[in-house]
Amino acid sequence: MVKNVFATRWGIIGVGAFIGIAAALLQKFGNPGNMGICVACFERDMAGALGFHRAAVVQYMRPEIIGFVLGSLIAALSFKEFRPRSGSAPVVRFVLGMIAMIGALVFLGCPWRAVLRIAGGDWNAVVGLLGLATGIWIGVQFLKNGYTLGRTQPGPKAAGFTLPLIMVGLLALMIIYPFVDGQDKTGVLFYSLKGPGAMHAPLLFSLGIALVIGFIAQRSRFCTMGALRDLILFRQVHLFSGFMALLVFALGTNLILGQFHPGFEGQPVAHTMHIWNFAGMLVAGLAFALAGGCPGRQLFLAGEGDGDAAVFVFGMIAGAAVAHNFGLASSPKGVGPHGIAAVFVGLVICLCIGFFMRRKVQQG
């Protein structure tokens, strides 16, 4: 067995630090404010680029997401960790992905972005992070009481390539139909002319950084939900040290680059409705905990062949479409017209999944 340096304490801290610095740089090079990397927002932008929703300000085929999956695939293949597998309640995972995305879009960010928002001085995200921790805490109670989505089964090798190949296809579309100045559609792809979707770092820069992050995150098992979950469940700080490194290094880089602007008001792609920042992230956190990983981790798992994680990713993309088509997603003005109802519905569904998906695990 080869020793995996990324799985050590310093390894995970190094990975968190790299992601923090990279995210701040991506913002410097064109990504939206406090959104150097946001898995939820970027999957939402991809849903927009494909026309699954038609919110004009959030349409862009984000190379970061593509790079995360492919970087993880390369790492998994290089270290013989590519394990095609699936069958652990995929349809439930799809629903959890949808709800996770809807909750994240009420807050406006995934756990990565929650940390990046704090690192940029957006104190609204502190409230979001508390909601996330509360949601994960509820998930932990279910886990302690025997919650499970069941076992996966090993699958044919080819099955594991499904999401990575789709990502290659999406990258190809982006190259065939590139953004043309002043044009909101090229071929089949939609582009934003203003708003966060119009803000992006150069394609190769984003893709290159994302490939490295995908690679090292697969090796280190970096997971923001796992960081809080293991802390709550086992008092274990391993993943949490990576999570903290992400915060500290993003903050440091932001201070150097002049990207730190403390306050509640006027923060980029954020609103100040504390209750719904908290509640949106609570629902998202619970969904992540029940699905066993934050949105980033789901991409890395999908890259190493986990078909159930891939289904969760599709669920998130579908959730983004629903969130924007039905007015569930927030905007800098505040929650969407049906955002509050969506939080309650999402919470009830998650609680039902937590209560009913229970099975005695066979031992012996």
Partner: protein, 72 residues
């Protein structure tokens, strides 16, 4: 005597939870944990050691790992 915890096919954190439950609740001297991913192997080993267990041996058979733990 030994007891076996079969955590194959289960995702995080269930293998760790099952192992810790066995360490805390069981009485056998030896605990054998079956997992089928590197992440689970690392997590279970890390958690068992932090619970004061001894990591005796890890054997690999194809895509599966058997982690042998000993209680003090």
């Amino acid at each position: 005597m030994s007891v076996t915890v079969d955590a194959r096919g289960l995702s995080c954190p269930q293998p760790v939870l099952m192992t810790i439950n066995e360490i805390k609740g069981g009485s056998e001297k030896e605990i054998k944990v079956l997992v089928d991913s590197e992440a689970s192997r690392e997590n279970v080993s890390r958690a068992a050691v932090s619970q004061g267990c001894q990591l005796v041996d890890i054997t690999q058979d194809g895509e599966e790992y058997t982690i042998l733990l000993a209680r003090d």
